[in-house]
Symmetry: C2
Subunit: 329 residues, 2 copies
């Protein structure tokens, strides 16, 4: 008897559905635009149709279940997509219940960053690790934490929101890691410096229209050696490194996997990050054996993770179950 898993990646822009085998390989996949503005019902109908197309034609292939990656906030305990900012029209949608009723398979829901953590453990940079922090830095900062082999979810699955740790307390001013180190923060600092008169190639990159500067602009300018952009990226790396210091003392992980656009900056970002960790961690035992690696999985990360969600019963069972499947094809 063969076995397969259906993975669903409900993104703000794209909706992907795949058939995944026991070793977390994608056997077949379909992708369409989510068209979130048309509302949840229309999207769910298209999702159902795509799932039907991905079901195995061979009656000897057993479907182990359906795993769904959705933007947060989503509640893995209740199976409800709560109110993701990038899915307008989705509000308290009981997606697990809907798909379970339609197809009759065990169905699991996870938020995209948690699902990505599982995927990186199953097939990516964190393969084989049991104490893992996954952090993705782009326009926002998301996180997924696996502690002693299990996904850290918390009471309502709202845990591991690593971008929302508080990093600055200065009089009345309070700011989070996300507000200081994600893409928009980089852009904000670049614009403020240029408005204050600093020269930078970024001004030319946006044809003088500073409203067009974004995190990617700063990253590209830094790679080209622009002084202002380099200083901003270095500062972001330092602040991210201090965020890591918090995560190291809170979770004592074996590995930190960094994903998202900002992470592609490589050592420009990683070096000041590592320096901050070494300088501010309480003890070298927190970082001397620590691995810090860029994420390895690309656009299929959510599909692989959604399948891993099924194998680990929503992340509640040990990630060893994923490794087990991998070891014994």
């Amino acid at each position: 008897m063969n076995e397969c898993i259906i993975g669903v990646d409900l993104g703000g822009t794209r909706l992907r559905v795949a058939q995944v085998d026991r070793e977390m390989n994608i056997v077949d996949r379909k992708e369409i635009l989510t068209l979130a503005s048309q509302g949840s019902e229309s999207t769910i109908e298209r999702m159902k149709e795509m799932i039907r197309q991905m079901l195995p034609s061979d009656p000897n292939t057993h479907v182990a279940g359906i795993g769904i990656s959705a933007p947060g906030p989503s509640n893995p305990n209740t199976g409800v997509v709560v109110a993701p900012p990038n899915l307008p029209g989705w509000h308290n949608v009981p997606l697990v219940q809907i798909l379970q009723k339609e197809f009759g398979y065990s169905t699991y829901l996870g938020n995209d960053a948690n699902v990505a953590a599982l995927a990186e453990i199953a097939r990516g940079a964190a393969r084989g690790f049991r104490h893992v922090i996954f952090i993705t830095v782009s326009t926002g900062i998301g996180g997924g934490v696996v502690s002693d082999g299990r996904l850290l979810l918390g009471k309502d699955g709202l845990g591991a929101e690593l971008g929302h740790i508080q990093m600055i307390v200065d009089g009345d001013r309070v700011s989070s890691l996300e507000r200081e180190a994600a893409g928009p923060a980089l852009a904000r600092k670049a614009v403020a410096a240029m408005e204050a008169g600093q020269t930078s190639i970024m001004r030319d990159m946006v044809q003088g229209d500073l409203t067009q500067v974004n995190g990617s602009t700063v990253g590209k300018a830094a790679v080209q050696g622009d002084k202002l952009a380099l200083a901003i990226v270095e500062r972001a790396g330092f602040i991210l490194g201090l965020g890591m210091v918090t995560f190291l003392h809170v979770f004592n992980p074996e590995i930190i996997v960094l994903g998202g656009g900002v992470s592609t900056l490589g050592d420009l970002l990683f070096n000041p990050m590592r320096d901050a960790i070494k300088k501010h961690a309480l003890d070298s035992s927190y970082w001397q054996d620590l691995e810090i690696r860029p994420a390895e999985l690309g656009e299929n990360v959510s599909l692989v993770g959604a399948a891993a969600l099924v194998v680990t019963k929503g992340g509640m069972e040990d990630v060893g179950a994923v490794a087990h499947k991998l070891d014994k094809p």
Copy 2:
């Protein structure tokens, strides 16, 4: 067949050993001064003698194991007391191995704040909860985290060091929760303000010798309505509240239990803490059902927790095991 557990509380000042029953009641206990300066060997000999005295005389009473609460850093995986600052002469002492060899019982080691979290779940303020943050604020800030029923330890048992989250990044200045909100921070701020000319009853409380001001001085003055002390306590509550915001987003707990000297200030501290949480948490779902309670267990907290360590096999098994024992005496 009756069952009992031996709990050991190895503190910097006092060494306590107790016989604890299945319901986590202390049946008998002994307490002596640790006299840490005499070195680990002498203390371990006295510890062994006290354990012998606490073993059940009734041959029908089975000893389930020995649990040890020790100051951090201690490694629960290896059973080694690493190098606690308040246990001079203790350096990489394999305490679990030593006691296991001497008595032949399963033996578990935990750091005091983690053990206190288990104790508060077994017999205290967090009884029956599965997502628990315990934080103790006195001269330092320690933490214990139970996530989905299991103690969060991390790779080498160095996790849940909640005092070491980074709270201030201001240019080159970096500071942690502990350095901003524990007792010495309160004292430092009080002394600085008085040296700058602010009046306060604290000056009289220490007969003009400002080197004698400590966290307790500030607390007592605040309770008496001293304006400076009140402002300092309020600020500490605000910063602690922002630390809680970090913990809420990272762990999504059901309950926060606050222990240690500073926590006895009650609403003077708890009100600004609650205000900071409500103001800075991403969403009300993080705090609307959240319980925040002072710790309930007194000086026996470590003995009860050490016994709970045995029942949960070092915190690796579900805390439901403790509740189970409680429900079925």
